[in-house]
Symmetry: C2
Amino acid sequence: MNDNSTRAKPAYHHGDLPQQAHQLALDTLREHGDAAISLRALAKQIGVSAPALYRHFMDRESLLAELAITGFQALRKRLLAVDQAQPRQALIDIGLVYVSFAQEEPNFYRLMFGGRVLPKGVHPRLDTAGKSAFRVLENTIARAQQAGYIKPMPLMLVTAAAWSLVHGLAQLSIDGHLPITEAEPQLAQGVLTLLLDGAVADHEQHHKDNT
Amino acid sequence: MNDNSTRAKPAYHHGDLPQQAHQLALDTLREHGDAAISLRALAKQIGVSAPALYRHFMDRESLLAELAITGFQALRKRLLAVDQAQPRQALIDIGLVYVSFAQEEPNFYRLMFGGRVLPKGVHPRLDTAGKSAFRVLENTIARAQQAGYIKPMPLMLVTAAAWSLVHGLAQLSIDGHLPITEAEPQLAQGVLTLLLDGAVADHEQHHKDNT
DNA sequence: TGTACATCAGTGAACGCGCGTTCACTGATGTAC
DNA sequence: TGTACATCAGTGAACGCGCGTTCACTGATGTAC
């Protein structure tokens, strides 16, 4: 009687408010960006009074932080799925996966890395989630280096370079500055390869140790 | 009589409204970010009614676009100041200058590249300004390539890589993800060098042509 | 040099909006005995 | 098994806010003759 579809329609106690709010906020984020998320609108759509949400979320920003955490977990999961057998291919693939995540979920990505929305240090769980996604990238590089594929140099330096490159690619392409689509990742692939092999012409390689 | 200090204080006709509004908005942007800019607040601070601003700016977004244009011009100017004598040094310096601009003017940089605020294609003058700043970077690379310093490959590929790298560095460092400060640009320098020389160990170079 | 007139750059009031958040409350549920 | 009570999850009303923008207007300025 009260469970005819997937969800009951309880009169007073909703029973599933936090999850449903989270899900709806997530949909809104993906479609319209973080700026479009408002607790009032969310409550209205769910059919619940606005203050009800405050039982489950400290404030608007906490909700955004939870969404961002979800995003980092999703990103991490995708990065973990990359085949690690061949160092070179693993490095390229992980970059491509990173970029394609941003392309598939631009609004998610912007929330996660916007800076404006969720400053670092305010939501510890968020920082942790971000770090653990980053660590997948870092581990891949570390492995490649241990295998002797990457030059011996501070891990920090290589990861900073790799992360900067993929982050830049991601941002520029979701803002329409680079002609990269999911269907045409050639440019992204070329760029990643460039970091591996270097831009400098072979006959100029003696310059290397001058800097 | 009406010109005792630098500025007159005319009763009705302000005489300098657009410039003063632009300047004040610019200060607000730098200090508090684009979200803090409101036409009403601006008008209030200047001591003029809010609708007065609509004589000079189509709407809020147009004002933001003008600010962003100013930003791109400033960035371009700095990039142009880089010494182009030595290809390698020019490439590194232009990257460092780019990153340090973002660090000095994070809110400016976010407005210019935020994506959320000013979508491409809406303000043609803005797009032009962005392109002409970008062209300085592109020209530097083209020169280095013509000098034989950069491998022969599509210019687009190298510029995409370089731009992505510096953009990523800039973004990550202003969001506090990388320990780069103006006083300590070593990491930035190391990262830029890495793109030039490549990450792959020398004895693995035979992999190069496999990809 | 003076005057009529067009144009420009302001004004004050108002529209309509949605937001986050707090308050004192009530209805529903779970738990100890 | 039944009942008293604590706790939890909602409610409706309200506070206070600032925003962008439009409207009909008026005061100031520049221009033609």
